[in-house]
Amino acid sequence: MRRAIDWLAPAAMVIFVLAAWEASCRLLQVPIFFLPPPSTIAVALAQNAGLLFVSAGRTLGTALGALAVVSAMANLAALAAASSRTIERGFSPLAVTLQVTPIVALAPLFQVWAGIDHPQRAVIALACVVAFFPIYSGALTGLASADPELERLFDLYGASGWQRLFRLRVPSALPHVLQGHKVALGLALVGAVIGEMSVGAGGEEGLAWRILEASHRLQMDKSFAALVALALMAGTLNFAYQALEKAVLRWWRGR
């Protein structure tokens, strides 16, 4: 019964909102270039499915590529910071600056550095910048989260700094690292979309480009269709990551 409600309540809400939207558009005769009804958006989605799929793939590729690059960098930085307090203190203003600076403000700089022929590089760099902090701080928190009694055990057996880092702190950090990557994944996607919108896409036109292109031509149905594709992609990505996280935690914990 409860399970049925868990599914039915959100489904009913979605149907209600879509029905109200559709009805209002028709009754009030809202112009299609202002707000298209869901049915028109669905048609646009179906008609442009191929192009949207390719565009979604590009945006996804940008976000995941950036995540891979920044994951390596942020985890290495966290390892260095965890092994030396001097390094940690030294990194902190940099990490905080990266965290608090609005990414849109960086876009023009990156555009210049990437050059007019390679806007894609600027987009990836922007996605990297936003995704850095959650991975770094997640890993750093994780590396400091080892069970204090296990730390004492390592003291007792005279473990070296390396042994402590790789046999205690790194494995202890895993749950926090996964948590950090979950946040970073969402932010990398945001970074990729903002990057595409503010830098432009060159030949690699992603979903953000589709939204802008359609909006500029007042093809609001197409714009909404791209938006729906983006939401679907982000939702699927989040769902997939949670499944992965669950599986990895099960392996880590043995249950």
Binding site: R152, L153, F154, D155, R167, P171, R255
Partner: protein
């Protein structure tokens, strides 16, 4: 016995900033293969004394004598303190691997140590899959795998039910009979102290000092009906009286 001491505290005092004197002045000797219980109310510094003997803490004043080689002193903490990401055998092999013994040899020795505590067949189990008693046994196996001269037990059965703790007490004594480490056993349970130890040191409430000693004159490991014997009951009663006297004296001096 004096020359055969494997660990000793000589006039040690421990002050904690903000809390004042936690222990001492306190003298303590552990003979080779001797089992000594430290009994006292919570906060009497008995765990502090244990950490001094383990070398995990330094005294504010006084001298700690202990075997300096790693692996010669083992500690079993109040909780099993197993790494969740390692299997039972991986956890038990850890002290050996930290000492630079190669993985295969370490794991083989760890499997034997697990068999000795009755966990043969549970080598691959993760800590989360073990019951409280089994986890404590694994912790005991880890402490014994280095064949220590001194085994320090910090209320190791506190979190277990009565049946399990009795079984474990017998197991500890059976293991002691094989390897003959000197054992220091911290507890606030009078019966447990009398059952485990050949000598019981009573401690006063904080700052912990020795309020007297009691020798339990019976062979170890204990005979099956030891708990119902006159020796056991007399010793337990005498110990209760000593504890009560120590508490009263402390209250009188505080007033």
């Amino acid at each position: 016995m004096a020359e055969a001491a494997v660990a000793a505290l000589e006039a040690v005092e421990v002050d904690y900033p903000g809390r004042g004197r936690a222990l001492g002045p306190f003298d303590f000797r552990l003979g080779r293969g001797e089992i000594v219980a430290l009994v006292g109310p919570s906060g009497c510094g008995k765990s502090t004394a244990l950490r001094l003997l383990a070398g995990l803490e330094a005294p504010t004043r006084g001298v700690v004598r202990r075997a300096a080689k790693r692996g010669d002193t083992s500690v079993v903490f109040q909780s099993p303190t197993l790494a969740p990401w390692l299997s039972a055998v991986g956890n038990v092999a850890l002290p050996l691997e930290l000492d630079g013994i190669d993985r295969r040899t370490a794991r083989a020795q760890a499997a034997q140590a697990l068999a000795r505590v009755g966990l043969a067949g549970a080598e691959k189990a993760r800590p989360v899959q073990l019951s409280g008693g089994m986890a404590m046994r694994a912790s005991l196996a880890r402490a014994l795998v280095t064949e220590p001269e001194v085994l320090l037990l910090d209320e190791p059965f506190a979190a277990l039910d009565e049946i399990t703790r009795r079984a474990l007490a017998d197991d500890v004594l059976a293991l002691w009979a094989v390897q003959k480490p000197g054992i220091v056993f911290v507890t606030h349970n009078v019966e447990e102290a009398v059952y485990m130890a050949s000598r019981v040191v009573v401690m006063t409430p904080g700052p912990g000092r020795s309020a007297g000693e009691l020798v339990v004159d019976a062979p170890s490991p204990r005979a099956p009906a030891f708990r119902t014997s006159a020796v056991f009951r007399d010793a337990a009663e005498q110990l209760s009286d000593m504890l009560a006297a120590a508490m009263q004296a402390a209250r009188a001096s505080a007033a």
